[in-house]
């Protein structure tokens, strides 16, 4: 047998990793990245002449757990038709038995790579609100993401925001929609994804109850916590963080779920109030601070009136000579 050079090893490794798309109607273009369950590849749907992203599990595990998780992820995303959630096109199985799904090819960059180009605090907050919109929509459909972090959020060239990687998502509703149970039945939510005591998520963005492996306690409040961490991330490189915004992030990231915002919508509304120069629920103000915020908010009018009064005073003084 020939000796394998380091370059040959790399080529064999890439060849073995690449999905064999024979008979699927897709042709492989290149690898986009690797995720928790496997790889993501850029492929072309030959009949439509359209490029899409194909996510495929890395190995066919003996338990079938990975296949079930990927299939479940695809089905969950398929239920969430929202501009902030990447649409799924197709699900299938490769000749080697690996499950895959295809989705819209997102042209953009991860939030953590894009952060410096997002602009000032108001622009960052508007991006944050778009993330909240998508997550809030998922919550309205009884889906909790459970792995919200800048790496799982894509920002497009026109400011569009997409929440990605729903591989750890949890269905809250015990009555899973019928279409989710075909062709392969999905086990009840809590048992599917994570047994009690198993920790799935990302440290730093994971809610305390999730980090402790309390699967039953992980609900929409866990996403509220993660969004608070994302807000902190967005504000970290934007200069001095206003106290009201720190308070909003702090409330979202409260240790006790009861102390957090009741919903993502509430969190988003508080951010909207800040953007409108209104008091936020997370930050009780003293009269002086309230006055100062009123001054800041109305500074244009105040400057105008001050300028008028100054001119008037100068005029009176001049006439008095």
């Amino acid at each position: 047998m020939k000796w394998l050079s380091d370059q040959a090893l790399d080529r064999l490794r890439a060849a073995a990793d690449a999905p064999d798309l024979s008979g699927t109607g897709y042709v492989l273009l290149d690898k986009l990245g690797a995720g928790g369950m496997g790889g993501v590849f850029r492929v072309e749907h030959t009949a439509l002449g359209r490029q899409v992203a194909l996510k495929v599990i890395g190995i066919v595990d003996s338990s079938g757990e990975l296949s079930a998780r990927l299939l479940r992820e695809a089905r969950i995303i398929a239920q969430l038709e929202h501009p902030g959630i990447v649409p799924v096109h197709d699900v299938g199985t490769l000749p080697d038995g690996r499950v895959f799904y295809t989705m819209k090819l997102v042209q953009g960059r991860q939030l953590d790579q894009q952060c410096d180009e997002l602009g000032g605090v108001p622009e960052r907050l508007r991006t944050f609100q778009k993330i909240c919109d998508a997550v809030s929509f998922a919550h309205a459909h009884n889906v909790v993401h459970r792995d919200l972090k800048p790496q799982n959020i894509m920002v497009g060239p026109f400011g569009e925001v997409l929440v990605m990687d729903w591989g750890l998502a949890k269905m809250l509703d015990a009555d899973i929609p019928a279409q989710l149970n075909t062709p392969q039945p999905l086990p009840p939510s809590d048992s599917t994804d994570t047994a009690h005591g198993v920790v799935l998520g990302t440290p730093g963005y994971m809610a305390p109850e999730q980090a402790r492996g309390e699967v039953g306690a992980v609900g929409p409040q866990a996403d509220v916590y993660s969004l608070g961490a994302v807000l902190m991330f967005l504000l970290a490189n934007s200069g001095r963080t206003p106290k009201a915004l720190s308070a909003i992030a702090g409330k979202a990231m409260a240790e006790d779920t009861q102390q957090r915002y009741g919903s993502v919508r509430e969190l988003s509304n508080d951010v909207a109030r800040y953007l409108d120069g209104q008091p936020v629920s997370a930050y009780p103000e003293s009269p002086v601070m309230r006055l100062w915020r009123w001054v800041v908010k109305n500074r244009a009018w105040i400057l105008l009136v001050a300028a008028y009064l100054l001119m008037r005073a100068v005029f009176i003084l001049w006439r008095g000579r």
């Binding site: 000796w3 490794r13 073995a16 690797a34 928790g36 890395g58 190995i59």
Partner: protein, 248 residues
């Protein structure tokens, strides 16, 4: 025990998961012997090269130590101490090698006792030749070096098995195409049409045959890996090492 062990390296076990580790520990001598032969086939070159470079041993010393290590693996109940949930088999074996070499004086004495000693038929000349072709790793990256050599060894064995299977199934040209593209990088400058002419095939056959060979190569690599790992978790982690596959 026979005096010499025939290292086929091509044996395989039934579909039972984690059969090699179980067989290597089994009381049944035949199953045990066959399992250990497969382990030796996958690990002897990485072990030899590791001893040469990590422990700065000369050719002869490294050969003796490699022989001694695998003889112990075959004779003694070495793998009885292996706990799959605590470490990868690869890590366990490397640590055992370190332990053996650190006590090399004792090992040397044992080898020199003669009589009861068995020898493995290992092609040290080829391993030494390979050492001349690789970049010498820094002392701090010896673990990575051992891992890389293990990948090289598993891929080599997998390719040999693929060649045999293709030959047996009348599909040797499929294997030759994989060799041409992925080992020799011969297809880099050529179109599929040119490669097809070179191999006397239709252009569409090149795509299909290559896809087949790569798919089979992947299957064989993962089959071998299943045999050589102690748990599903270790299998997934080693799949990541071997194929760059991300798996939780």
């Amino acid at each position: 025990m026979p005096d010499e062990v025939n290292l086929r390296g091509q044996g395989s076990f039934p579909a039972t998961r984690w059969s090699l580790i179980a067989a290597a520990r089994s009381a049944e001598p035949e199953a045990r012997q066959r399992a250990l032969e497969i382990l030796v086939a996958a690990y002897w070159k990485p072990v030899y090269k590791y001893i040469r470079l990590r422990w700065d041993k000369d050719n002869e010393q490294a050969q003796d130590l490699t022989q001694d290590f695998f003889v112990r693996l075959l004779e003694k109940d070495f793998l009885a101490h292996y706990e799959p949930h605590r470490a990868r088999l690869r890590t366990f074996l490397r640590v055992c090698v370190d332990h053996l070499v650190a006590n090399e004086d004792k090992a040397a004495r044992r080898l020199k006792r003669g009589g009861e000693v068995q020898f493995l038929r290992l092609d040290f000349e080829s391993a030494e030749g390979e050492l001349q072709q690789i970049e010498i790793p820094s002392p701090g990256s010896m673990e990575d070096f051992f891992e890389r050599e293990w990948v090289r060894s598993v891929f080599s064995l997998s390719l040999e098995r693929l060649r045999q299977e293709c030959e047996h199934g009348g599909k040797l040209v499929h294997f030759r195409l994989l060799e041409f593209y992925d080992i020799d990088e011969g297809g880099k400058e050529l179109t599929y049409e040119q490669v097809a002419r070179q191999f006397g095939l239709k252009p569409s056959d090149v795509t299909n045959y290559l896809a087949f060979a790569r798919r089979e190569f992947r299957r064989i690599v993962l089959d071998q890996l299943r045999e050589m790992t102690g748990s599903e978790e270790e299998f997934r982690r080693e799949a990541h090492t071997l194929l760059g596959i991300d798996a939780p």
